[in-house]
């Protein structure tokens, strides 16, 4: 018990220490005057955004963009992943290209989406889709390639049709790794959509952050970033819980 408690104390101490230093720097007004608002001021701004409900339309916009983007990413990623994973030849040819693209900053494609899709939701949905696509596709490739060949042979020898082999063998054994990819993809889609909003937009969480930044409403900017991080953490926690649940069923 002690071995678990001690690190926890250090963690809590670190966060508290950070907040205290932040508060002192902010109050002293010697360093970074005006750009380090008091923690209470930030919390008040966050509360104001929540209690007046002014943040909710923007929250809705971002969640809408990210989830439509994630759905597109999941569909295309899973389809491509199964095609490449089940065909070793095509996998060898195309997987390196996908790996290369996965290691590039996806936001750089945003201006292309802007000129083709416009400055409204569609370009952010495209950003979310591209961002979420790679972790899902890469996980699905591995998942499809790792389906136990013996199971497939058995299914075929008892006379299962292609469709039955797919639904009874492929789907159950790929469900977990694909969802693990979706968990990563959900985070990436959310960040992709918000980054798009930060650059060019007229609604969404990224929009209110950059609006506050441009008008030098510093406390409001920090509050919006705080709430955005909270949303990202929530998405991560929910997806992790579902994953743990699924693992429980699988065993």
């Amino acid at each position: 018990m002690n071995s678990l408690l001690k690190p926890l104390m250090v963690q809590i101490g670190t966060v508290l220490g950070f907040l205290i230093i932040w508060e002192i720097v902010g109050e002293s007004k010697l360093l970074f005057a005006g750009i380090v608002p008091s923690v209470f001021e930030i919390l008040r701004a966050a509360w104001l955004q929540l209690s007046t409900g002014s943040i909710f339309p923007h929250l809705l916009v971002t969640v809408y963009e990210a989830s439509v983007g994630l759905a597109l990413a999941a569909f295309s990623g899973v389809v491509l992943g199964i095609v490449l994973g089940a065909n070793p030849f095509w996998r060898k040819i195309f997987e390196p290209l996908i790996l290369y693209f996965a290691a590039t900053p996806k936001i750089i494609l945003y201006p292309i989406f802007l000129i083709i899709l416009g400055v409204k939701f569609e370009s952010k949905i495209a950003m979310a889709a591209v961002s979420g696509f790679f972790p899902i596709a890469l996980n699905t490739i591995v998942a499809a390639a790792n389906v136990n060949r013996v199971f497939i042979k058995v299914a075929q020898s008892v006379g299962a049709s292609n469709f039955q082999t797919f639904t009874r063998v492929y789907v159950p054994s790929m469900l977990l790794p694909i969802f693990a990819g979706m968990r990563l993809g959900a985070g990436a889609s959310l960040v992709g959509a918000i980054l798009g909003e930060l650059k060019v937009s007229n609604a969404g969480l990224g929009f209110i952050i950059i609006e506050a930044f441009n008008h030098f409403r510093v406390a409001e900017m920090y509050a919006s970033i705080l709430l955005t991080f909270f949303l990202a953490a929530m998405v991560n926690v929910v997806m992790t819980l579902i994953l743990v649940r699924m693992r429980g069923f699988a065993h």
Partner: protein, 249 residues
């Protein structure tokens, strides 16, 4: 290893893809504002190269990445060693850093802009933060997972603490540390280019942004292709370098 045939086939597919785009644009099937052809992008690159701007943009990006990487490695390696030396801190900060790394840190960039000013310092700071975390975590893990038997042998041979560090601990942790440096450098490159594009400051990333705001489609695609090629080049070089560093041991 992959055969030359697979490699050739891969690049043939890439060439076909580019050729299709070229034909689509040449036949005016889409508006030139939306899509431009590879040959026109190449012409734009040639022009930019001689006006001198392209090269300086690439150098600026390389400079930002280099500074961020140097700072991140020094701080990261020291912090990783400290976390290993004091295991209570190690257990506490491993989790904190892991949580930080999983969070969308890039969204903090407006804060970096207010604190470091709207310039390349903010970009370097963001890159440093991103690159540092995997270096710390991997250095710590590498040192921690060194087989205890090696250390016992070293003590049995009456090596001093420094000799144990130099001849046993670091060589054993080396592959893990290299992995951390590699990951750190990749994250630095991604965050630097992304930030250059987002705030319109610095090197290669700004090209695409300028192209969009000036409605210069060739410049826009040049920026996009330049950033992607730079990342690819970088990933390839990094793979080669780390393979060489590891094989020397």
């Amino acid at each position: 290893m992959e055969s030359w045939r697979e490699k050739a086939l891969r690049w043939i597919f890439v060439a076909i893809f580019l050729a299709v785009i070229e034909v689509i644009v040449r036949l005016n099937l889409v508006d030139r504002i939306f899509l431009t052809s590879p040959s026109l992008i190449a012409v734009a690159a040639w022009d930019e190269l001689f006006s001198g701007e392209l090269l300086s943009l690439f150098l600026l990006t390389a400079y930002e990445v280099a500074i961020a990487f140097i700072v991140a490695s020094i701080v990261g390696l020291c912090a990783g060693c400290a976390l290993w030396r004091y295991s209570l801190l190690g257990r506490a900060y491993d989790e904190l850093l892991g949580a930080l790394f999983a969070s969308p840190l890039i969204l903090l960039y407006p804060i970096f802009l207010v604190i470091f000013g709207r310039g390349i310092n903010a970009i370097i700071a963001m890159g440093t933060l991103y690159g540092m975390i995997p270096i710390v975590l991997n250095t710590h893990q590498g040192l921690r997972d060194v087989d205890q038997v090696y250390l016992k042998v070293g003590k049995g041979m009456r090596l001093s603490e420094r000799q144990i560090l130099r001849h046993i601990l670091f060589p054993a942790a080396w592959p893990m540390i290299i992995g951390g440096l590699k990951l750190g450098l990749t994250y630095i490159l991604i965050s630097v280019i992304a930030l250059e594009f987002l705030v319109d400051i610095g090197g290669v990333g700004t090209l695409a942004s300028k192209g969009y705001f000036w409605f210069n489609t060739e410049l826009l695609y040049l920026g996009v292709v330049g950033a992607i090629l730079l990342s690819m080049l970088f990933v390839t070089l990094l793979g080669k370098a780390s393979a060489r560093l590891l094989s020397r041991e």
